[in-house]
Subunit: 289 residues, 2 copies
């Protein structure tokens, strides 16, 4: 086909497809349809097209083993939450999901009760105990559930953003026993901006949007026979709950992070008094068989 | 807004936009609308979403000062040609445009008549003389027009893909005098595959598409008072003219690359006989004032 026009081009591209896999065909053909519709709707200049090429190139090049700028881009566009919503439509009696975000990475294994705040922030920050149960949708305790937790420090940085923190700080993996109980010590998380020194920062500025995320702590929970759960718990009262830069807040995930003044409780949980005493029971969906 | 659903998410994201620039608002809001429509239409799994993140990341990371994988991606999806078509709707009496492609880079300045085939391919390849006029839309010769030309060698490689070629081989910049005439020596270009060792190669394989481009030579022509012209000339008879991997072929850009057996002409143009004798007059649109 040599007489390509604005009108027939998308069909010419689609006709060329000859995927072996039906799903590959579906993914590629739908992407072609929507990206062509976008270009026709926008009518970019050639300079704008090149600016987009450059933006995407730099987004890829900003990624390394400690940073995932394309996930961040997906997050701030609401794409990650849309994918999350589509994939978690059944949510009766299970903990709701939210975005993974760009900061998950490998962590050390800990014993229940260990303190994941292993750097200076452990002294500076507000002490916190996080505890509860890992249950299935029928409220049965899950044994050998793996709880992968990660959070920012008291000034809003994750370990991988901050060379002053010990490696794999403020993250860890815990395993439940037959009671399904978990508990660990940490500091209260704080609100923070997503990284704005890369292409996503440029996009947020061009959008007139702030980069803040309300204070939260991340969980990725896996247990045999259950669907894995990726979620956060958010600190009630945070000023950014209604304007999370990545649209991750769900009402059911906002929790009262209560300040506990009991010195007896502080002794029991081996923290200084007063401390934030946060209790939450996670409920995982049973795997479809 | 805390009760995000599949249905209200796109509006929540759009409401957050507060761009200073109207065009920024238009670009970003339209992209958000179309990318959300694509995700809703496709309903990707979380694994597929991550595969897309990984694909885009690797596409960015494949780019360097000699390779532009995102332009190649745009090319094979037909996006580059769509942007080209939208931006060049008026084409009466001017040379038609086509894609820039991923292989343009800086080149040496040459005198008219110089040979841009400076490596072994200059001995192996089929000698060719390319000549003609640079004119405006009123057929007036353009003085001091800069003709930036680039092409692959006789086995289908550009200099920047092939360490055996001299640096900046088979590319060059020529400047016209008051006659508007140009001529240079080279070798006849050959059909070649776009690079398939990166993410775009994966996409082509998943699409069941071949990676071939019909033989062509690239031109980027600039002259004072005229709109710049980015185009190719294609070799008539090439078997890939109807299935160019980047959809760049236009009927008006296909040219008979004639074999000239005249030893007199060969002496005149300082090439061995027989040689390909290719004549084309480029016509540039006057700049809108």
């Amino acid at each position: 086909m040599r007489n390509i026009t604005e009108d027939n081009l998308v069909d010419i591209v689609l006709e060329r497809l000859n995927s072996e896999s039906e799903r590959d065909y579906e993914v590629i053909s739908k992407f072609i349809k929507h990206i062509h519709a976008f270009i026709k709707d926008l009518e970019p200049t050639e300079e704008e097209w090149f600016k987009a090429i450059d933006f995407l190139t730099r987004t890829g090049q900003t990624c390394n083993d400690k940073r995932q700028e394309f996930i961040l881009l997906s997050d701030v566009l609401g794409v990650s939450m849309l994918v999350d919503s589509i994939n978690h439509r059944t949510k009766k009696n299970i903990t709701e999901t939210t975005v993974t975000g760009p900061f998950h990475t490998s962590a050390l294994n800990f014993e229940m009760g260990d303190n994941i705040a292993r750097g200076d922030e452990g002294k500076r920050g507000e002490p916190m105990v996080m505890r509860g149960l890992i249950l299935d949708e029928n409220n049965r305790p899950l044994e050998k559930a793996l709880i992968d937790v990660w959070q920012s420090d008291d000034i809003g940085y994750y370990d991988i953003q901050d060379t002053n923190q010990p490696e794999m700080n403020l993250r860890g993996v815990f395993e439940t026993d037959e009671t399904g109980e978990f508990w660990f010590r940490t500091i209260k998380p704080k609100a923070y901006p997503v990284p704005t020194d890369g292409p996503v920062g440029e996009l947020l500025r061009a959008s007139g949007r702030h980069p803040m995320r309300p204070a939260h702590i991340h969980f990725w929970i896996k247990a045999d026979g259950c669907q894995q759960l990726i979620t956060h718990l958010f600190v009630a009262g945070d000023e950014h709950l209604d304007s999370d830069a990545v649209f991750g807040v769900k009402e059911s995930l906002i929790l009262d992070f209560k300040l506990n003044h009991s010195t007896e409780d502080a002794d029991k949980w081996q923290v200084e008094s007063p401390f934030y005493d946060v209790v939450y029971d996670f409920k995982l969906a049973r795997q479809k068989t």
